[in-house]
C-alpha cells in the first residue's frame, strides 16, 4: 500500500490530544452554591486517577476516528498490475461534437479542435464505442466506430476527419446538435452479445461563442447517464466586429431611404475605430471611418455620395477576426404594383374616386405603383392587376372576367356609389336579389363596431389610431338581401347598416364599401385613415414584392419567389468564376456566402448570401448558462484529456479512502451516542 499524500499521516500525532484530555478529570458536573467566593482561588483542574470503562471506550473511538482521518487525507492506494484486471475495465461510449461553424475559421482554432479530437481518441480503449459528429446549423455524422480496435479505428476516424478540411460558413446550433446526439445515444439499442456501456459521454469541441444557439436544449429533458464535457478552444478571443443589414419594418413605406447596416463591436474588441468599406460593381472602393466603442453597436446608412452606385459588397476592417468582415449586398429592385380602377372617373377630377386613388399610391425606391383606369362598359379583356377598384356599375363581359379574377386569387375593392351596382354585387357574391338603396338623410353617419382584428383593419388596432369619430359620411347606401354566410362585416354605420364588408370568394377576396371616399360621399379620402386603409388592403402584395434578397448560409432559399411562385427549371449560379451552375427545382440551400444569381426562362435575379449575424458574436458563453440548462456537466478541469496517460494509471489504482471515511463517520456517530449516554447517566449522580 502506498500513499498519495503521505505527509498527512503526521496528523496522527493529534492522538495525543484525546489521551491528555482523558487523563484530566472531567469537568465536575455538580454545582455548589456558596455564599462568597472571596476566599477561594482558581486551582488547576484535578487529575482523575480512576477512569471509568465508558471513558476508555470513548477514548478508543476518538483515537480511531483521528487515526482514520489522517489515513483518509493521506489517500492510500494499491496499484493493480494484473493485466487480466486491466482488461476488465468498463466500456464507454464517447461522442465528439466538433464545431465547424464559420467562427471556427478564426486563427488556428481548427487545428486546436483537431488536436482535441486526437486527445479524445487517446482516451479510448479496446471495445469502446466512438462517434464523431460535426455540427453547424445542421448535424452530420463523420465517423462511427462501434467497437474500438486501437490504431486501425484511429486511422479510419482520421481519414474522415481529414476530409473535413476546414470549417464551413454555417451558423452554430449547438443546442440542436446536443439534442440530436442525446437522443441518438438514448435510443441506441445494445446488441445482444455486447458488453454494457458503463459511461456515456459527449465531448463538445467548440469555441463556444455567444452566437451559438442553445434554445433546443431548453425544455429538453436530458437523458440520465449521459455526461457532457465542454472542451473550449479559443479562450484568448480578441474580440470581433460584425455587420448585418437592418431590416425595415415597412420597406414599401421608406421612399428613397438608403439601406442601413448595424455594425457591432464585441465587449473585448481591440479597437473602437472601424473602417466601413463598400465595393461597387464598377470596381470602386468607398470607405468611411465608423466609431463603435467595444460592447456597443451602431447603425450606419450608405452615405449619400454612394447613391447611384451599385454596391455589391460591404466590408469592415479593423477587428481581430477576418472571417465575418465581408457582407454581400443585393439591392432590391423596384417592383411594379398594378392597380386597375374600373369606373367612369376622370383622372384629374377632384370630385371622383380615381383622383384620390392615384394620389394615395406614390412611387417609392422599392415600389412603382401603376394606376390604370378602365371603363366599366369596356369590352376589352380585363388587364392584370394586383388590386381592382370598382367604382361604378360594370357591364357583363368585364363583370364576368372580374368575377373569375376574384375567384382566381385577385383582390377587388368595390365602392358602392349607386344602386345600379346591385347586379354586380349579387353576381360577385353569388347571391340573388341584392338591392342597394340610397339612404336619404340630412344628418351624417359615423362608423362603429369596427372589427379591428381583421387583417384589413389591424393597422388601426392601436388605441392611438382607432378613433373613427372624426370621419363623417354624408351619404351612404344600404345593402339589402346579402347572403348570411361568407361575409364579414368589418364596420357598420351608426344606423346599424353594414359600411365595410369583406367576402372571401374562391382564392381571392372582395371588399365592399357602402360609401365612397369622394368629398360628396364622405371625409374618408381626406382623413388620415385613407392611405393606411388602402395599403392595408394591398399588404399581402406589398410584402411579397418587397421581400429581401438577403439570405443566410445554411438556410433554405425559395427560388420560386423570384418567379411569382412558379418553380421548376431554375439554375443557380454560385459566386466565383468557374463555379458550376446548380439546377434547382424550388428550394436551394447555399453553403457559402456571396452573390448568387438565379436564372429561369426569361428572368434572372441576383441574391446575396451572408454568414449568420450570430457568428460574429465570438465572445465565449458563460459556463453558468450551460448549468442553467440542466446539462450534467463534467467540469473541464476534471476532464484532463491532455493527461490521458495519468488518467489511465488512475483507473488501475485501487483507492481506499472512501471506506476509511465511512469508518470515520461510523466512529464519530458511535462516539456521539456513547458520550450522550454517559452524560445522561452522570447527571443524576451529580445532584
Amino acid at each position: 500500500m502506498s500513499f498519495l499524500t503521505p505527509l498527512y499521516l503526521l496528523g496522527a500525532l493529534g492522538l495525543a490530544i484525546p489521551i491528555i484530555l482523558h487523563l484530566l478529570h472531567d469537568r465536575p458536573k455538580n454545582k455548589q452554591e456558596f455564599g462568597s467566593l472571596m476566599f477561594l482561588d482558581k486551582t488547576k483542574p484535578p487529575v482523575d486517577r480512576k477512569r471509568r470503562p465508558t471513558h476508555l471506550l470513548l477514548l478508543l473511538l476518538r483515537c480511531l476516528a483521528l487515526l482514520l482521518l489522517a489515513f483518509v487525507f493521506a489517500r492510500p492506494f494499491t496499484t493493480v498490475d494484473d493485466p487480466a484486471d486491466a482488461g476488465r475495465r468498463d466500456r464507454q461510449w464517447i461522442t465528439v461534437l466538433l464545431d465547424r461553424s464559420a467562427s471556427m475559421q478564426r486563427g488556428d482554432l481548427w487545428q486546436q479542435a483537431k488536436a482535441k479530437v486526437q486527445t479524445a481518441l487517446g482516451q479510448l480503449g479496446p471495445g469502446d464505442r466512438f462517434t464523431l459528429i460535426a455540427y453547424d446549423d445542421s448535424t452530420a455524422s463523420l465517423a462511427e466506430v462501434k467497437s474500438w480496435l486501437g490504431s486501425a479505428s484511429e486511422a479510419e476516424v482520421n481519414t474522415q476527419l481529414e476530409r473535413l478540411a476546414k470549417p464551413g460558413f454555417g451558423g452554430s446550433n449547438l443546442g440542436q446538435a446536443l439534442v440530436f446526439v442525446g437522443e441518438a445515444i438514448q435510443e441506441a439499442e445494445p446488441e445482444a452479445d455486447e458488453q454494457p456501456l458503463a459511461r456515456r459521454e459527449i465531448i463538445v469541441i467548440s469555441d463556444l461563442q455567444k452566437g451559438s444557439r442553445l434554445d433546443a436544449v431548453q425544455g429538453y429533458e436530458w437523458p440520465t447517464g449521459i455526461r457532457v464535457t465542454l472542451e473550449q478552444i479559443g479562450e484568448d478571443d480578441q474580440g470581433n466586429a460584425g455587420i448585418e443589414p437592418v431590416a425595415s419594418r415597412m420597406p414599401w413605406a421608406t421612399a428613397g431611404a438608403a439601406p442601413s447596416f448595424r455594425i457591432s463591436n464585441s465587449a473585448n474588441g481591440i479597437s473602437d475605430e472601424l473602417e466601413f468599406l463598400a465595393h461597387t460593381t464598377a470596381g470602386e472602393t468607398l470607405s468611411q471611418i465608423v466609431n463603435v466603442p467595444p460592447g456597443r453597436s451602431r447603425v450606419v446608412e450608405l452615405p449619400g455620395e454612394w447613391e447611384g452606385k451599385t454596391v455589391e459588397r460591404l466590408a469592415i476592417r479593423g477587428d481581430a477576426a477576418e472571417f465575418d468582415n465581408q457582407f454581400h449586398f443585393a439591392q432590391n429592385r423596384q417592383q411594379t404594383v398594378r392597380i386597375v380602377y374600373i369606373g367612369e372617373d376622370k383622372p384629374n377630377d377632384a370630385e371622383g374616386s380615381l383622383f384620390y386613388l392615384k394620389s394615395a399610391f406614390q412611387k417609392s425606391s422599392t415600389l412603382d405603383f401603376q394606376v390604370e383606369a378602365v371603363s366599366g362598359k369596356s369590352t376589352d379583356p380585363l388587364p392584370e392587376a394586383d388590386l381592382f377598384v370598382i367604382g361604378d356599375a360594370v357591364d357583363d363581359p368585364l363583370a364576368q372576367a372580374l368575377g373569375q379574377a376574384i375567384e382566381g386569387g385577385s383582390t377587388a375593392l368595390m365602392v358602392v356609389q349607386s344602386p345600379s351596382q346591385a347586379a354586380n354585387l349579387g353576381q360577385w357574391l353569388g347571391a340573388d336579389g341584392v338591392v342597394i338603396r340610397d339612404i336619404a338623410s340630412s344628418d351624417y353617419a359615423l362608423l362603429h363596431s369596427l372589427k379591428l382584428d381583421d387583417p384589413v383593419l389591424a393597422v388601426f388596432r392601436d388605441a392611438r389610431f382607432s378613433d373613427f369619430t372624426n370621419l363623417h359620411f354624408w351619404k351612404h347606401r344600404e345593402l339589402q338581401n346579402l347572403p348570411d354566410e361568407g361575409i364579414d362585416v368589418l364596420a357598420r354605420f351608426d344606423s346599424g347598416a353594414p359600411a365595410w364588408l369583406a367576402a372571401r370568394r374562391g382564392e381571392g377576396r372582395l371588399l365592399v364599401m357602402a360609401s365612397g371616399w369622394t368629398p360628396a360621399d364622405s371625409q374618408l379620402a381626406l382623413s388620415t385613415k385613407f392611405i393606411p386603409l388602402l395599403y392595408s388592403i394591398l399588404l399581402p402584395v406589398l410584402e411579397d414584392k418587397t421581400q429581401s434578397r438577403q439570405f443566410v448560409v445554411g438556410r433554405e432559399v425559395d427560388v420560386t419567389r423570384f418567379n411569382n411562385g412558379q418553380g421548376g427549371g431554375v439554375t443557380v449560379m454560385p459566386p466565383g468564376d468557374g463555379a458550376a451552375a446548380i439546377p434547382v427545382d424550388t428550394v436551394f440551400t447555399p453553403a457559402a456566402p456571396g452573390l448568387y444569381s438565379a436564372k429561369g426562362s426569361g428572368w434572372s435575379e441576383t441574391f446575396a448570401v451572408n454568414l449568420s449575424p450570430a457568428e460574429s458574436r465570438t465572445e465565449p458563453i458563460g459556463m453558468e448558462q450551460f448549468q442553467k440548462l440542466g446539462l450534467p456537466m463534467s467540469t473541464p478541469a476534471a476532464a484532463p484529456l491532455a493527461v490521458e496517460s495519468a488518467k489511465k494509471t488512475e483507473t488501475h489504482r485501487r483507492e481506499y479512502w472512501q471506506w476509511a471515511l465511512a469508518a470515520v463517520l461510523l466512529f464519530v456517530t458511535l462516539e456521539t451516542v456513547l458520550a450522550a449516554k454517559g452524560s445522561r447517566t452522570a447527571e443524576p449522580a451529580a445532584i
Binding site: N30, F34, S36, M38, T43
Partner: protein, 299 residues
C-alpha cells in the same frame, strides 16, 4: 428551625431564655413609674392634667406609663449570600439571623422598648423606625418574613444610608455575615458610633463557611455574583481558611477600634444561648440612655 412561624419561633426562644433569667429579667434597662410633676414654664401644655388643675388649682404634668427607655434598631442583612445553607446543610444563615432579630425584638417589646427594623443588601430595602406600639412587633415580624431579593451586599453603602435614617441615639444591632470587602467598613461604622449609637454586631456564619467542609470537586457558584469556580475542596481548603481567618481578624480589629461588641455565631449554635450571650455583654462604651422627662435633665 422546625417552627415555621417567625413569631412563634421568637416567642419560644425568648420564653426559653427568660426561664433562665428569673432573678432579674430586666437587667440593664431601667423602667419608670407614673407620677405627677409640678408644671414649670416651658413644659408642653398638652401634658397638663386639667382635672387636677380644676380640683386643686395647681398645674401638674401627667407622666405617661408607656414612655420607653430604649430605642433599638435591627439592621439585618438580606443579601443573597445570607441564603447559604438550608436543607441537609443545616439552617440557613438568613433564617438564623431573622429568628435572632425577631427574638430580640420580641423580648424588647415585652420590656416596652421601641423597636425598629432596617433590612438591606446593596441598598436599604426596608426601614421601620423604632416605635413602641401595639402592632409594631407584628409589622417587624411581617417584614422579617419576606424573602431576600437576591442582591449582592454592599455593607458600607447601606450603612451610610441608614446612618441618616436612624435619627435618635439608641441601640443598633447589626446582623450580617460580613462576607464582603472590609476596606470602607470602619468608616461606615464610625458614622453610628460617632453619633453615639450603641452598636452591636452579630456575624452569622454557616459551619461550612468556617471549616469549608466539602468533599467532592464541584463548580462553586458565588450566590451573589453568580461567578463560577471549579474547585477541588481538598486542595482549596487550606488557602480558604487562611484567608477566612485573616478576614475575621481584620473584622475584629475594626470592631474593637470602634468599641463595638462583636458576636460571631454559626447557625449550628442554639439561639437561646446566643441571645443570652448577647444580653449579658456589656457595652464597651456607656451609651445607656435614661428616660428623659420634660423639664428635667437625664438622671
Amino acid at each position: 428551625m422546625e417552627i415555621r412561624s417567625l413569631s412563634l419561633r421568637a416567642r419560644a426562644v425568648v420564653e426559653g431564655f427568660m426561664s433562665g433569667l428569673h432573678r432579674s429579667p430586666r437587667t440593664g434597662f431601667s423602667t419608670e413609674f407614673t407620677e405627677y410633676r409640678q408644671y414649670s414654664p416651658g413644659d408642653d401644655v398638652r401634658f397638663l392634667d386639667w382635672k387636677v388643675m380644676a380640683r386643686t388649682d395647681r398645674e401638674f404634668i401627667k407622666k405617661f406609663e408607656d414612655e420607653t427607655n430604649l430605642r433599638c434598631t435591627f439592621l439585618v442583612d438580606f443579601s443573597k449570600s445570607m441564603e447559604f445553607g438550608g436543607d441537609d446543610a443545616g439552617v440557613k444563615k438568613s433564617d438564623y439571623a431573622r429568628t435572632f432579630a425577631a427574638s430580640l425584638a420580641w423580648f424588647l417589646t415585652q420590656q416596652r422598648d421601641a423597636v425598629g427594623l432596617a433590612t438591606f443588601d446593596r441598598d436599604v430595602r426596608e426601614f421601620i423606625p423604632p416605635r413602641y406600639r401595639r402592632d409594631q412587633l407584628k409589622t417587624i415580624l411581617g417584614r422579617l418574613e419576606t424573602q431576600p431579593a437576591g442582591n449582592a451586599t454592599d455593607l458600607c453603602q447601606a450603612l451610610e444610608k441608614l446612618a441618616s435614617l436612624v435619627g435618635k441615639r439608641g441601640m443598633i444591632v447589626l446582623v450580617s455575615d460580613f462576607l464582603s470587602p472590609l476596606d470602607e467598613l470602619e468608616r461606615c461604622l464610625s458614622l453610628f458610633t460617632a453619633a453615639g449609637h450603641d452598636v452591636r454586631a452579630v456575624q452569622v456564619l454557616h459551619p461550612r463557611e468556617v471549616d469549608f467542609n466539602f468533599e467532592d470537586a464541584a463548580i462553586f457558584e458565588d450566590m451573589e455574583s453568580g461567578q463560577n469556580l471549579i474547585l477541588d475542596p481538598g486542595m482549596a481548603r487550606e488557602s480558604y481558611q487562611q484567608k477566612y481567618n485573616a478576614h475575621n481578624a481584620a473584622l475584629d480589629a475594626i470592631f474593637s477600634a470602634q468599641g463595638i461588641p462583636g458576636f460571631r455565631v454559626t447557625t449550628a449554635e442554639p439561639l437561646e444561648r446566643v441571645l443570652q450571650r448577647f444580653l449579658e455583654e456589656r457595652p464597651a462604651r456607656a451609651v445607656v440612655r435614661q428616660r428623659r422627662s420634660p423639664g428635667r435633665s437625664a438622671a
